[in-house]
């Protein structure tokens, strides 16, 4: 039973409404469950607005049963906006991983990994909207929480028709940025 609780990875993806963080959470959850065969719980919270406002998506991954369905103390936080960073950075485990969009969260604390995620998205695909896919590449590249193959499949399965190549490139840009950090 101790193992069941220890085998629990809590990931929080946060940003502004419209940045696609909820979809990113769903894709990660699909990679971990449908493709990697693990147990997951994915949830989200957002305000009543259609765009803007704070938006967060949570994914809990385990090989065992998942009881409490929400993040208690995150192993990983990805923050794509200042508001998201300030709201959630204190709820990360001491040895947890904090990833921020370097251009949006300039005041992030020292342990944060700063990657210009939105800028990379625009540079790679010409569209900022692919920032959520870049973020997935960074997240999986740094954590290995699912295999590269599984996240690629999950992204491809969710990409709207005609955007598969764009999303593939965005994911690859995320992995490249993660590899650069590791070096």
């Amino acid at each position: 039973m101790t193992d069941a609780l220890a085998d629990r990875t809590e990931i929080r993806l946060a940003g502004e409404g419209g940045q696609g963080m909820i979809l990113a959470g769903i894709i990660l959850a699909e990679a971990a469950s449908i493709y990697a065969g693990k147990n997951v719980v994915q949830s989200q919270s957002y305000g009543p607005e259609a765009r803007g406002g704070a938006s967060k998506s949570e994914v809990i991954i385990s090989n065992g049963e998942i009881d409490h369905p929400e993040v208690i103390e995150a192993d990983v936080l990805v923050a794509l906006s200042r508001e998201a960073y300030h709201k959630f950075h204190k709820e990360v485990k001491p040895d947890g991983l904090l990833i921020v969009d370097a251009d949006k969260v300039k005041e992030a604390d020292d342990k944060a990994i700063r990657i210009p995620i939105t800028h990379l998205a625009f540079e790679t695909t010409g569209r900022q909207i692919t920032a959520n896919t870049v973020a997935l590449g960074v997240l999986v590249g740094l954590t290995g929480i699912v295999s590269r193959q599984d996240i690629e499949k999950a992204v491809a399965a969710r990409a709207p028709r005609g955007t598969e190549e764009m999303n593939r490139k965005a994911l690859e840009a995320g992995f490249a940025a993660a590899a650069a950090v590791k070096r």
Binding site: L5, A29, D67
Partner: protein
């Protein structure tokens, strides 16, 4: 079927189709809207009808009418819409028309916080409509169970001729979990069978098991349907010799089948003196707390209620007798705790409550265990 990542609300939609629901009328409201979305798409494919009504009052009326026309029917809503449905829920209860009402609870009262979870409609599910009446309310704790209990809700609605409330919450409704749904063709829900010829049929007969069969209109079986107190044919009556046996029957019919209706799960541990009791999304926090406590070497029991109404008195009473303290965790200010206190005694009950749109955490429950 393959593994899919599915939302609780989607699972409810599929559960309805699997259960044989062929009519849905509703008015969209956060956080229940995905149920209407999926059924607007899938129900016509299954040969059913989907209607978006002008409001929740009309939605409730429509599903009552559809069932009288022979289709198993459902609506889904959240707190504010559930309030509007109450008058017609009472009508369905007194006219004994099977139907399923899904309430995906959000933070109230009033408009409250549309996207925030709550378990604040527990008492509304039981007493939201006026007068004494039978009602069943079921609360799932996972996406898969949302599917299963939707089927159970249809089965119980038919079997006991009563509205059944699927009392879920925003957490369960919106969370996604991997599920592998069973083959729908093997799923059956209760079907009414009538043995008497049309001229002898009484839709409100005082049968021994309390549940006379219901024949849909259009098959030559004639009866009257009203919200007034009525006789065995359904016609309004003021005769006490007709009213008393009928009132007795409808208000005791669920009691006769409590063992089948009261769905609970107990995770007992020898020698435990502390018991956790919870339901819906909060049961997940309770189970998490249980595992932490046991890992520390503490002994603790857990009783999870899937049936909230009629209240599983027998099971809760037995649970209360085994432990010194019962910790009741819920996302309201203690609605089900009232019932637990009534059954096990006030002094034994410790309430863990939260009604601000955030979930009860495992730590809050652990703190209560130590306190």
């Amino acid at each position: 079927m393959t593994v899919q990542l599915m939302q609780g609300n989607e699972a409810i939609g599929w559960g309805a189709i699997a259960a044989g629901c062929r009519f849905y009328a509703g008015y969209p409201i956060t956080p229940s809207t995905e149920i209407a979305e999926i059924l607007s798409r899938e129900l016509p494919k299954a040969g059913g009808k989907f209607i978006q009504m002008e409001d929740e009052i009309a939605s409730m009326a429509a599903i009552i009418g559809a069932r009288l026309g022979g289709l198993k029917s459902m609506t889904a809503t959240s707190g504010p819409g559930f309030s509007l449905m109450q008058e017609n829920i009472g009508y369905a209860a007194i006219a004994e028309i099977p139907c399923v009402v899904v309430d995906v609870q959000r933070l109230g009262p009033s408009t409250g916080q549309p996207t925030a979870p709550s378990q604040g409609d527990v008492m509304q599910a039981r007493w939201g409509t006026h007068g004494d009446h039978p009602i069943i309310a079921l609360a799932p704790i996972s996406v898969r169970q949302a599917f299963d209990l939707t089927i159970t809700a249809f089965d119980m609605a038919e079997r006991y001729r009563t509205p059944v409330i699927l009392l879920t919450d925003e957490v369960i409704g919106h969370m996604r979990e991997p599920v592998e749904l069973p083959d729908f063709s093997a799923i059956r829900t209760f079907e009414h069978e009538v043995t008497e010829p049309p001229e002898e049929y009484k839709a409100f007969r005082n049968t021994a098991d309390g549940v006379p069969p219901l024949v849909p209109f259009g098959q030559g079986y004639r009866y009257h349907v009203t919200g007034l107190l009525h006789d065995e044919f359904g016609f309004p009556t003021q005769r006490m010799d007709e009213i008393d046996p009928w009132l007795e029957r409808i208000n005791t019919k669920l009691d006769k089948h409590l063992d089948e209706i009261a769905l609970v799960a107990e995770d007992a541990q020898e020698g435990a003196r502390v018991g956790l009791l919870s339901y819906g999304c909060t049961a997940r926090a309770a189970r998490h707390a249980l595992k932490i406590a046991r890992a520390r070497g503490e002994k603790v029991d857990l009783l999870t209620l899937f049936t909230l109404w009629p209240f599983p008195e027998k099971q809760v009473e037995a649970f209360g007798e085994r432990v010194d303290r019962v910790i009741v965790a819920e996302m309201n200010l203690g609605q089900l705790a009232y019932e637990v206190e009534r059954v096990v005694g006030r002094k034994k009950v410790v309430r863990v409550t939260r009604a601000n749109g955030e979930m009860v955490t495992p730590q809050m429950i652990l703190d209560a265990m130590e306190g």
